[in-house]
């Protein structure tokens, strides 16, 4: 199963695509990091793959 993540460029916290997709826009969960992370931070191909296989990433 392809696992898609995004690494915050400010603090290196790693966030999975399912977490980004649920929140769409979120404050970086890294400690003391004020960066804002978006689902759109993923490459277009990664976003399309994730949305096309969303059932895999759900419980």
């Amino acid at each position: 199963m392809r696992i898609i993540t995004h690494t915050c460029p400010a603090c290196r916290t790693v966030v999975s695509a399912n977490e980004l997709e649920v929140n769409r826009v979120m404050k970086c969960p890294g400690l003391g990091c004020d960066n804002v992370l978006r689902f759109e931070d993923l490459d277009q191909e990664e976003r399309e793959f994730f949305l096309g296989h969303a059932e895999q990433y759900e419980l």
């Binding site: 199963m1 696992i3 993540t5 690494t7 290196r12 790693v14 977490e19 969960p29 759900e58 419980l59």
Partner: protein
């Protein structure tokens, strides 16, 4: 080598304790379970640690561990979100791990002997993975490894009807970077999770050697209340305990007793170790704290007899009763109903609580 410490999961078997916090922060001998894993990783020379967080208790874990500097390690957080399996958690750590090998450690596990030997054994060969094993009495209830004479794993079987060995997989693994390619090829199991045993089996089928290391000392998964009590007992038995707190002249303290600074044992109290008493806790006159008990911080005990129990902290217990084999959550208070009418016990009990009266 890096470390990946899994700290997600719902902790459903530890309810109600986990209604208000993650299972990895439940204390054993007055130290959160997760800290034992950090110490094991550091002892094995691993100071770059990725902590994988799920949907529950993230802030509490981050508040405890911070950036890792209090422990002499460097922590990066990895947000897995939905608990899609151990192999999914490992896969989420791919960018953090980079080109290194890594130890994957389940954050609710505690080992007596640490992980240094497992890591050293892995480093001595050219392995796709190394797995920690332990001999168990009922192998049909575990994931079991079959190994050859040199300790190389030949097969993994989940809960076999006819187990070829009694060597069960415990929650600590070493992986080469090759595991990430294998995880990409896995499909979710019947329960919708990416299984780590499937990843190891796929490494085997790809022709990788898989090292094994049999853990000799005790190992505990602290997933249930009775596991917390047993692990507390094992850790207290093995600990070198010291008394930094205040013990009044007419208090009785016997055996190995850990009394933290600012804890007080007052006249007429009896402590029989092994016992741990945390900071700012007062054991008042007429109280007996018996073997294998840990009393957390900011608590007051009066008149109670308590044994083989864990009081997590911020509790006041003032009653003449006896408490044994019990796990009390943070802020749980117990008073006396002795002079109240009508006679009877008065309870305010949360969901999933278990009481024997």
């Amino acid at each position: 080598m890096k470390g990946v410490l899994l700290s997600g999961g719902t902790g459903s078997r530890l309810r109600p304790i986990t209604h208000t916090g993650p299972k990895q922060l439940v204390p054993v001998a007055n130290k959160p379970v997760l800290e034992y894993a950090i110490e094991d990783l550091k002892e094995a020379g691993i100071t770059e640690i990725g902590v994988v967080l799920g949907n529950k208790g993230r802030e509490a874990i981050q508040e405890l561990l911070g950036d890792g500097s209090d422990y002499g390690v460097e922590i990066t957080y990895i947000i897995q979100g939905n608990p899609l399996g151990l192999a999914h958690a490992a896969g989420c750590a791919k960018d953090f791990v980079g080109d290194d090998d890594f130890v994957m450690y389940l954050g609710d596990n505690i080992l007596k002997q640490g992980i240094s030997e497992l890591v050293e054994s892995f480093n001595r060969g050219n392995y796709g993975a190394g797995i920690a094993l332990q001999e168990v009495d009922r192998p049909e209830q575990f994931g079991i490894a079959d190994v050859d004479n040199e300790g190389n794993v030949t097969q993994l079987i989940e809960k076999p009807d006819d187990p070829p060995t009694n060597l069960a997989l415990i929650g600590i693994y070493v992986f080469s970077n090759d595991v990430f390619d294998v995880i990409e090829r896995l499909d979710p199991s019947w329960r919708g999770e990416l299984e780590i045993t499937d990843a190891i089996q796929a490494l085997l089928e790809d022709g990788h050697d898989i090292d094994s290391h049999v853990v000799e000392g005790w190992w505990k998964d602290t997933g249930k209340p009775e596991d917390i009590l047993e692990t507390n007992r094992l850790v207290l038995e093995d600990s070198r305990l010291k008394q930094d707190g205040t013990v009044s002249e007419d208090a009785t303290v016997e055996g190995q007793v850990d009394i933290r600074e600012s804890a007080t044992i007052q006249d007429g109290a009896v402590i029989r170790g092994p016992v741990s008493i945390a900071e700012n806790t007062v054991i008042e006159s007429g109280t007996y704290v018996g073997p294998y008990t840990s009393i957390g911080p900011n608590s007051t005990l009066e008149s109670i007899h308590i044994e083989n129990s864990v009081v997590i902290g911020d509790s006041t217990i003032r009653t003449n009763g006896k408490i044994i084999d019990s796990l009390l959550g943070r802020g749980a208070n117990i008073g006396s109903a002795e002079e109240e009418l009508p006679e009877g016990r008065r309870l305010v009990v949360g969901e999933n609580s278990q009481l024997k009266l």
